[in-house]
Symmetry: C2
Subunit: 336 residues, 2 copies
DNA sequence: TTGTAAGCGTTATCAT
DNA sequence: ATGATAACGCTTACAA
């Protein structure tokens, strides 16, 4: 357990602790010779500064916290990849917290974060979160927060999202173009920014094309697979939609499974399109038309903004939304 | 940024710092009344002990590091879920490091970890890692290490895996049972424990069934999608296998894509089976037969062992392999 | 150019 | 039962 610390280096080199510390930080008033000696030994012994001790002095931990609802999800996985890529570039460490769509866990994490464990927070809020004071509290403590994907609209900071409204509009329009007359929307929690926007895009597209939105075709799904299956099954049996626009991948997958078990053919009986980052979308039976989100870029951008705030003394996180567009990729599931 | 610390609590309560500290830790020699007052105020002000300061004294950070090759991968995603579930139970924080299958990054992470940022390490090694001294160094510094999935066999610690050899054997036997005569194996790096074992299972199954393993049918794939596509394309065109056993999901997906582009039918022309945790395996065209790994449980078990070591003074990580079985799930891709 | 010493927030030892 | 104090490893005025 004996670790190499500054004290040890100082002893071995017959220098004071202060001199070693300054030499390591390449300070002006240390002779080049001393610096070289210190650096050489530090390298030889693989000296790593103790981050906890530096935190105590400098009040930064070179760590960011990422709070997400779940991780077994291609979207968040890609976003983490993006986040990690900039964190690694800048020498930051990434702590992951999974809220499992549970407000209380999210709350507990934010409480823990008031103690200096991380210098900033990236968050995509849980679907059961309706109150944002825990996040305001964090911000008030001086912890910079950047939202991505599931954002809090009226929060004074950067929010990175995709164009959810337009994409919802586009997906629905695409179904209309393909001849659908009864289009259902499997929506994600309407208390979520993305849920709301995607649904609004859906409704507007219907209206713009002369359809009257039908409440019984807009299903707000849950976080429970069984419950969702029941809802979707009822929808398919009772409302008999000829098009489904799924707000998230999971609902599209459930739809595929239920269509199979009910003997419905995609796309003949029902056409399906979904927000999705599934790698295998094109290999499904039938291949799935998707709104593919720039998840990696969203993660990168959010992390880049947060780290800019942490690194640049004078930079303040602006109160703005950064929108990175999704792409509509049509495949067989929506073919005429 | 003004944070609540012990000092502040002490001032407000007109107590000494020492008393407050002890009261918070529910020490024997503090009166119940004082404890109550301290606790009440701590709760009211949402006092959170500074983890960096405690580290300096106690030498533990309540943090574990997870080093994995990639995250856009259903297996690792599920494993993280398992790891996080026990970490959350025990109040530990999880830092994620992605080696991107690059030994040098893995090395850099382990160097960083010598400084106390984490109390222990869970690792699944990169496919380019052949030397394990960086990990031995970590262990020698007193950092407990637990391997999962891609383990180092001769390393004195716990290794949690699935039964890779038996599963490779099983997958291959299944293809034989389904009538395949020329079975190819798309192997992952043979320097990886899992790559080696899965391939050995494949070879043994062939031999036990009267086939002579053919080197040109055992393709060691890479980490580069294009290169893999070339390799698999050549395999399909030149060797014309009638069965493919893919060691990882990615190779199965590539096989599907290439069969499609080459006009080969699965399972009529080629049957395919793969190690995979794809949620959509049953929805693929055709549905994919898989060896499904208990990824969540593997993550849970690995984390549980590590945390046991961290929490129990007298517990030493045994030098043993914990094997949790995979399941063969047959679907259309291997139908006769 | 180098060294001394204080202090970051905690915990633990030893007094009181 | 409570308090004073040193120490953890590091940074940084300030002194030499």
């Amino acid at each position: 357990m004996e670790s190499v610390n500054i004290k040890k280096l100082a002893q071995l080199l017959n220098l004071s602790i202060a001199t070693v510390s300054k030499a390591l930080r390449d300070s002006y008033d240390i002779s080049q010779e001393t610096k070289d000696r210190v650096m050489a030994l530090a390298k030889e012994l693989n000296y790593q500064p103790n981050p906890h001790a530096s935190f105590l002095r400098k009040q930064n931990s070179k760590t960011i916290a990422v709070i997400i609802p779940e991780i077994a999800n291609n979207y968040f996985t890609l976003a983490i990849n993006g986040i990690e890529s900039v964190a690694q570039e800048k020498g930051y460490h990434v702590i992951i917290y999974l809220s499992h769509e549970d407000y209380n866990r999210e709350l507990a994490f934010t409480r823990l974060l008031t103690s200096g464990r991380a210098d900033g927070v990236l968050i995509s809020v849980s679907s059961t979160t309706t109150d944002y004071t825990h996040l305001h509290d964090l911000q008030n403590k001086g912890l910079p927060i950047v939202f991505f994907d599931r954002v809090c609209e009226n929060f004074n900071t950067v929010k990175v999202t995709t164009d959810d409204y337009q994409s919802g509009y586009l997906a629905t329009s695409h179904l209309i173009d393909q001849g659908c007359k009864r289009i259902a929307h499997l929506a994600i929690s309407q208390s979520l920014s993305i849920g709301n926007k995607r649904a609004k895009g859906y409704i507007q597209a219907l209206q713009d094309n002369g359809f009257t939105p039908d409440e019984s075709l807009l299903i707000e799904c849950t976080n429970n697979e069984e419950q969702d299956a029941t809802l979707i099954k009822e929808l398919l049996q009772q409302q008999k939609p000829d098009g489904i626009f799924a707000a998230v991948e999971r609902y599209a997958i459930a739809s595929y499974e239920l269509c199979e078990s009910l003997g419905l053919n995609i796309p003949e009986d029902v056409k399906v399109i979904s927000f999705s980052n599934l790698q295998t979308a094109s290999l499904l039976n039938p291949s799935l038309s998707t709104i593919t989100q720039p998840a990696f870029e969203i993660g990168r951008e959010a992390a880049a903004m947060l780290l800019k705030k942490l690194e640049k003394k004078n930079f303040q996180l602006p109160d703005e939304s950064i929108v990175i567009q999704s792409k509509l990729i049509t495949r067989k599931s929506t073919m005429r």
